[in-house]
């Protein structure tokens, strides 16, 4: 518990900044929805006729004139991308920062086993992801209530669950990468999250790249699909969890054996 508390304390500013940034962007988006809704009569056709761009963001499946459609595309992208970056940063720095900042010698010469360190750091990463998502979920509900819209509980909750799972997967995979790094990996984490995001856009544009959905967690966190079907693709979710589990497994195997510089 000492280690988890320490990790959360060390990352509290980063957590606060990311939560505020993503939460504020989500709130602004929701607060402008009533105005957007009034202008949607003309813009709806425009959004639906932008070819690959429309397909890439799933705007051919949902209407911007409805809160769920608007939320799935606009807020979905903010939380999807912002959350993915945050989870990637948390994960990729968790183990590597000890060597980068030369604190590994301090930590590992205390009577705490390496598996326990990996476990505590993983828990700390996940707690940060949960805290950020919990706060953003609350902000979203509050913002929807503030603009006087009925809260679409099921769609909203499924969307947020999908993004939570996405972030947990990315966080876990980056956590695994972290065990192999010695000099920090902010670029690797952000790059991995961005690549996974764009892989999903490519998969949306062309059927021949549909297999990419089996690689990127954005495949099961596609907002337009979720609000249209009011369900998650549990097959893809399961695959994503398997990738996350592989990342965690790699972290245990590597970190428990590596020489600390």
């Amino acid at each position: 518990m000492t280690m988890i508390r320490h990790e959360l304390r060390q990352n509290r500013i980063s957590l606060a900044v990311w939560t505020l940034a993503v939460g504020a962007l989500m709130a602004v988006c929701i607060l402008i929805f009533p105005e957007m809704q009034e202008e949607m009569d003309g813009a709806g056709d425009l959004f639906a006729s932008m070819g690959s761009f429309t397909e890439a963001f799933g705007m051919d499946q949902v209407s911007f004139g409805t809160l769920t459609g608007f939320y799935a595309v606009e807020c979905g992208n903010i939380l999807g991308l912002g959350g993915a970056f945050f989870a990637a940063l948390c994960g990729v720095s968790a183990l590597a920062k000890e060597e980068k900042e030369h604190t590994a010698e301090f930590l590992l010469t205390h009577p705490v086993s390496r598996p326990a360190i990996v476990t505590d750091k993983l828990v700390a990463v996940m707690v940060q992801v949960w805290l950020m998502n919990g706060a953003v979920y609350a902000v979203s509900i509050g913002s929807i209530a503030a603009v006087g819209e009925e809260i679409p509980w099921k769609e909203l909750s499924l969307l947020h669950l999908a993004y939570l799972l996405l972030q947990m997967e990315i966080g876990a995979v980056c956590f695994g990468i972290s065990a192999f790094l010695k000099h920090g990996g902010m670029g690797i984490g952000l790059g991995a999250a961005a690549v996974l995001y764009f892989l999903n856009l490519i998969a949306n544009i062309t059927d021949s790249a549909d297999f990419l959905r089996y690689i990127t967690p954005f495949g099961y966190a596609e907002g337009a699909d979720i609000v249209t079907n009011v369900s998650l693709d549990w097959g893809l979710v399961g695959l994503g969890l398997a990738y996350g589990a592989a990342g965690i497994g790699a972290a245990y195997v590597k970190y428990c054996r590596k020489d600390i510089a």
């Binding site: 000492t2 320490h6 010698e105 590992l108 010469t109 205390h110 009577p111 086993s113 020489d259």
Partner: protein, 293 residues
């Protein structure tokens, strides 16, 4: 009982040599010095003992516990002070000390407070704002606050001013008197000579000498100071020759009869032959290969 016992302990970093076949035993309650210059393998030895790196061969035990299999049990009874004192940015001194105690699941508040007062350490300061010497003090408190049976100290005095060094060694001597084993790694030979009862010398990853500090100092080499005109070109085993204005000084490791014969043939006005100090012994071991033990 041996506090530390190494048998053929070896560590290679890929093909690069770390330490090779170290055989060393340190008894419980000893104040033991571990001498060697930078890159000799002192830190590699310590890091292997503490489980930071895995040995490539051989074995080691601390208080009879295998360093690989019983690392946590060993670290519970060990205090370690690294040569570089680095802590988590943004934390205050008191927080670092409490974190260290927390990771040991011990309440060390009383002892930590005592050590901080003796070392003049302000616990409210942020570690990022501390000088190297003050960070060293934080390291001392973290290493000693849980009153370990074994203290492993890697270049502990670098950055500490002379008064603080004296206080630090006072603390170590008190701990040693209460039964703690002190394993002091250093290239400051005078502090080994002043404080340790036994010492080992490591060179290029191999142990080249081990024994009491007194016996290590009693090498066949002598320090010779001569006043007058001197030519030593006919003598072998002359090292560290220093010409002064009116004479010369050198370390001599050869036959004493040959030395006296050469000196008697020269115009010298004064002669002193003395035991070299540990600093000079160290040079002897390093410059000339020394005596294998």
């Amino acid at each position: 009982m041996n506090a530390i016992e190494m048998k053929g302990l070896t560590k290679f970093y890929g093909k690069a040599r770390g330490i090779v076949g170290l055989d060393l035993a340190v008894s419980e309650g000893e104040f033991f010095g571990f001498i060697g210059p930078n890159g000799a393998g002192k830190s590699t030895t310590i890091r292997t003992l503490l489980g930071l790196i895995k040995g490539s061969g051989g074995s080691a035990r601390i208080f009879g516990k295998d360093i690989a299999a019983e690392k946590n049990g060993i670290l519970m009874e060990t205090g370690y002070m690294p040569s570089e004192a680095l802590f988590y940015p943004g934390m205050r001194v008191g927080e670092v000390i409490r974190l260290s105690a927390g990771l040991r699941r011990k309440d060390c508040a009383v002892e930590a407070d005592l050590l901080c007062r003796r070392l003049g350490l302000d616990t409210s300061k942020k570690v990022d704002q501390l000088s190297f010497g003050n960070r060293k003090k934080v390291s001392i408190v973290c290493a000693l606050q849980h009153q370990p049976r074994l203290c492993i100290l890697d270049e502990p005095t670098s950055g500490l001013d002379p008064l603080m060094q004296r206080e630090f060694f006072e603390i170590l001597k008190e701990r040693n008197a209460r039964g703690a084993t002190i394993f002091l790694s250093s290239h400051v030979l005078s502090e080994i000579q002043r404080n340790c009862t036994r010492a080992a010398i490591i060179r290029e990853g191999r142990l080249i000498a081990c024994g009491s500090v007194e016996s290590l100092s009693k090498t066949s080499a002598k320090r010779v100071h001569v006043q007058g005109e001197l030519t030593v070109s006919t003598l072998t085993e002359v090292r560290d020759l220093q010409q002064t204005g009116s004479g010369a000084s050198f370390l001599y490791g050869g036959d004493i009869q040959a030395l006296l014969r050469v000196l008697s043939e020269q115009k010298i006005t004064d002669l002193t032959i003395s035991e070299p100090d540990l600093e000079e012994i160290f040079l002897h071991y390093y410059l000339d290969g020394g005596e294998e033990t």
